[in-house]
Structure formats: structure tokens, C-alpha cells
Symmetry: C2
Subunit: 212 residues, 2 copies
């Protein structure tokens, strides 16, 4: 049986946000600052390039003893021996992915509403990501925003750990943490920071109540 | 040990060419007409949709006892139990894919020149696709055209079965077949045909010398 890692501060990468910077030059300080999970999300590169970057992230996250999750591409996850995959509603079916990946890997699953959260209760997924809670400019294909009410309704029905995602910032994180989520996805505030380590540390400080 | 199937008439699908038609409404008559391999190539759909269509193609090709190959997405190939994958120079590394897929599945590999064909000789791939031989409007990212000379140089050095691809039509196929290729990839002449079965039959007739 797989153990669930600390999901409290969950970084999702987005290479569109870092200009000419190397992805690792942002992720490594973020890890030093206390990021607990790294999800590599990359839609635009060719598979070989995604694989090459994922291999680098695999080495880096292993060094910091942090799980590496690959968005969507189960094949990339297998090829780099990632700790798991993250699936959206439009990705491969969970049951197929579980069968291929085996019982020892993590599967995260995005839910956009209460009905999807209920459906996820019946699936062999390790956690759900409730998204998008707030407005964000990294996901252009967002459905309706959950807001606090939508997030609350998902937390109420979910039997899985729930990570809140979408527009989480230092300004709104206190209220999200108060809602008893299992973690928060952070993208912009860390990916676009001039000091990703300091940014991650600020989030860690806000998350401390979750661990009490 | 896997047996190499008849590769002589190798259909690569392209949903951009069929407008509002259902892909199966083109592929099934093509199979009736004698297509020997179906490669499902789809870059624009979400993974779930690719999976759904691939499942339909899996059932259809099994009915006609024809191998189904998935372009690029090893994970889709595994999820639908396809007969193999096709990799380009910018896809996942062959050795990783072979390790994940196992020895019983087919791996095809695209080569654009003699050097890549020589490199492929050392890889655990079942066949190479030499491309693009002629001009085509389905592949916008083509490198230099091989022409007859380039195809000949690949055939000369390759120790793998060679399938010619790119702009193969009824007008030029006779000369390609004369060069002793192991098969031809056909896209446009079948995908855009009003009568895919008849189109496939015409190609089969031109390929008959390959079987003597």
C-alpha cells in the first residue's frame, strides 16, 4: 500500500511563466523553500523534450526527497519513474491508468464540482485537486470558479484528501487553510517570483496551522 | 519473439482531413479495401478523446485482423492494448519505450536521412519509416524531402524493413515499389477519398509486385 506524502504545498510548474529561465533554476529554490510536491505540467513541448526535462526534475526532486508527479502523460511518468500522474477530467480514464501504473504510484485527479468529487470517491485515486477556486491566468480553459462556497461543497462530500488549486496566493491562503484543506497548489506566486525560495517559505509559514 | 506483420499498405489517419466525418467511416472501408496496418495519429485532441477513438479503432482493426499502431502516445497504446507505437525523432527514447512496452509489441521509428537510418539499425525497433519522400500537406513540420535519391540511400544502409512515407500516391507508387521498399504509408489518397475502399484497392493492386 502506498503512503500518502505531505501534500500541503504543491507546486505545479508552468514553463510559460518563466520566460528564458531554466525550469530547474526556479524549482530548486522552491524545494529549498519547502515545496512538498512537484507536478510537472507541460503541454507544448515535444515528448522528447518533456522527457528530458522530466528526467532532470526526477533527479532534483529525489535529491530533496519530494514526490514528482507528471501531468497527463502516463508514458512520461513511467519513462522517468515518477511517483505518480495527475489526471484531469479530459485525460485517460483513471481505471486504465491505475492498471498500467500499478498500486504503488500516486494518482491525483482534478474535480470541478461536487458531482465530480462524489464520483472520485469511487475511484482509485489518492487525492483530488479542487479547481479552480479563484481566478487565474495560467489556466485559460477554466470552467466556472469554485470560490469558497464551491470549495466547501467539495470538501464536504470528498472522502479523498483535497488540494485547493487556482489563484491561491498569500492574500487568500489563510482563509483556504481555515477550511481544512489537505494542501494548496501554487503556481504563479512561486513560478514568477524573483526569489522562489522566499516565496515558498512564505507559503510554508501560512500552512503551518495545517500541521497542528 | 514478435512476428513482423504485412506492412505493405500502411494507413496513417489524420482527422484534420476528414472534416465532420467519423474516422471509422473512413478506416473501415479502407480496411475492406486491403489496408494492412492502421496507425492512429492524433495530436490535437485531449487524451480522453484520443483514448475513446483509439478504443473504437482497436475493436475495428481486431475485427479485420490488422495491427493497430498508436503514434507517439505510448500511454494510449497501453491503455487500448494496441499492437505497437510509432515514434519520431522528437518522441520518447526508443529504449525507454521498449522497456515499458515489452518485447511483444511493435515499435516503428521515423528516419529522415541515412545517418538516422544507420542509428536505427542499432535500436530495438521493428521497422523504420523513411519520410518525407515527396511533398505533402499533412505534415507541416517536414524537413528536407528525401526524393528517390534520399529514399535509396536509406534503403541501402537500413537493416530494418523500410516503409516509404510522404506524398505517396497512385502516380508515384510504381517507382517507389520498384525500389524494393517493404511498404508505403498512405494518408491523403485514402483519407480524403470519396470511396476509401476503392482507393485502398487501387493501392493494393499497385503493391502486388512486392509480394512476388
Amino acid at each position: 500500500m502506498r503512503a500518502l506524502p505531505d501534500l500541503s504545498l504543491y507546486l505545479v510548474t508552468d514553463s510559460r511563466l518563466i520566460g528564458q529561465k531554466n525550469l530547474l533554476s526556479v524549482v530548486e529554490p522552491a524545494l529549498k523553500g519547502g515545496v512538498k510536491v512537484v507536478q510537472f505540467r507541460e503541454k507544448s513541448m515535444e515528448a522528447k523534450e518533456i522527457f528530458d526535462v522530466a528526467m532532470e526534475l526526477r533527479a532534483l526532486t529525489s535529491k530533496y526527497n519530494v514526490p514528482l508527479i507528471i501531468n497527463d502523460r502516463l508514458d512520461i511518468a513511467q519513462a522517468v519513474d515518477a511517483d505518480g500522474v495527475h489526471l484531469g477530467q479530459l485525460d485517460l480514464p483513471v481505471e486504465k491508468v491505475r492498471k498500467i501504473l500499478g498500486a504503488n504510484k500516486l494518482i491525483g485527479f482534478t474535480v470541478h464540482n461536487e458531482a465530480q468529487a462524489k464520483a472520485a470517491n469511487q475511484m482509485d485515486v489518492d487525492y483530488v485537486v479542487a479547481a479552480p477556486v479563484f481566478r487565474t491566468n495560467t489556466k485559460l480553459d477554466t470552467r466556472g470558479l469554485l470560490g469558497f462556497d464551491g470549495l466547501r461543497s467539495i470538501l464536504k462530500v470528498s472522502k479523498k484528501p483535497v488540494i485547493a488549486a487556482g489563484g491561491i496566493s498569500l492574500k487568500n491562503i489563510a482563509e483556504v487553510v481555515d477550511m481544512d484543506v489537505d494542501g494548496v497548489v501554487v503556481v504563479n506566486p512561486i513560478m514568477t517570483s524573483d526569489d522562489p525560495q522566499l516565496s515558498a517559505e512564505k507559503f510554508v509559514n501560512m500552512l503551518t496551522p495545517m500541521k497542528i
